[in-house]
Symmetry: C2
Subunit: 91 residues, 2 copies
DNA sequence: TTTACTTATGCGCAATTGCGTATATAGTGA
DNA sequence: TCACTATATACGCAATTGCGCATAAGTAAA
């Protein structure tokens, strides 16, 4: 499952948790988090810490992968890509 | 590339950035972050925010995937797994 | 060595984290 | 309805974020 933003990740995590029939409390206890923290993660994950993410991944027995995007060149020399507006004010 | 913890993720990101010959400043500008923030992410990523992670992924043209771990059962009923000590105090 | 670029680090700042704890609000089943 | 579980939300708290900004180190080339 590809995740492109915090919200998508949160939704996936919630779905996985439910699919396994686990409550937020149980998941939280498993990796020493509070139920309230899990709840906030599932609703507004943007500012949550990486730490917390990996704890949840562990509790839900999920694994994460990173790789170059499909059409991404390697060894950009003088790439400019002066985009703007996509990240200037998001989430 | 599988990432199991924040540190591994940070290292991968740094390597990717270098492989592409980009400086922290350039990457930061791309997604409206500060060079100092990128620097901190690459050295101590544990507490960094998801927000920041996805900005970096975008700048480096990387994609993230989540999926059930290799040997993970689905629909645990009465699973106990009373582990402890792995997450009680880490990083 | 000097120049240029890159990375690390520091300050004050407002905002947010996750904790500990508690409660309010669903939701479910008898 | 009642009881129980699950989730959302709140409070004060210390810690940390990322910002703006600046500067100190580190690296490399001339």
């Amino acid at each position: 499952m590809k995740v492109t933003d915090p919200k998508a990740l949160a939704v996936y995590l919630r779905d996985e948790r439910k699919r396994r029939g686990l409550s937020q409390s149980v998941v939280a206890d498993e990796v020493d988090l509070r139920q309230g923290t899990v709840s906030r993660f599932e609703s507004t994950p943007e500012k949550m810490q990486l730490d917390t993410l990996f704890r949840l991944l562990s509790a839900l027995e999920l694994e994460l992968s990173v790789k170059p995007r499909d059409g991404s060149a390697r060894n950009q020399r003088g790439s400019h890509t002066s985009d703007d507006g996509k990240w200037t004010e998001e989430w």
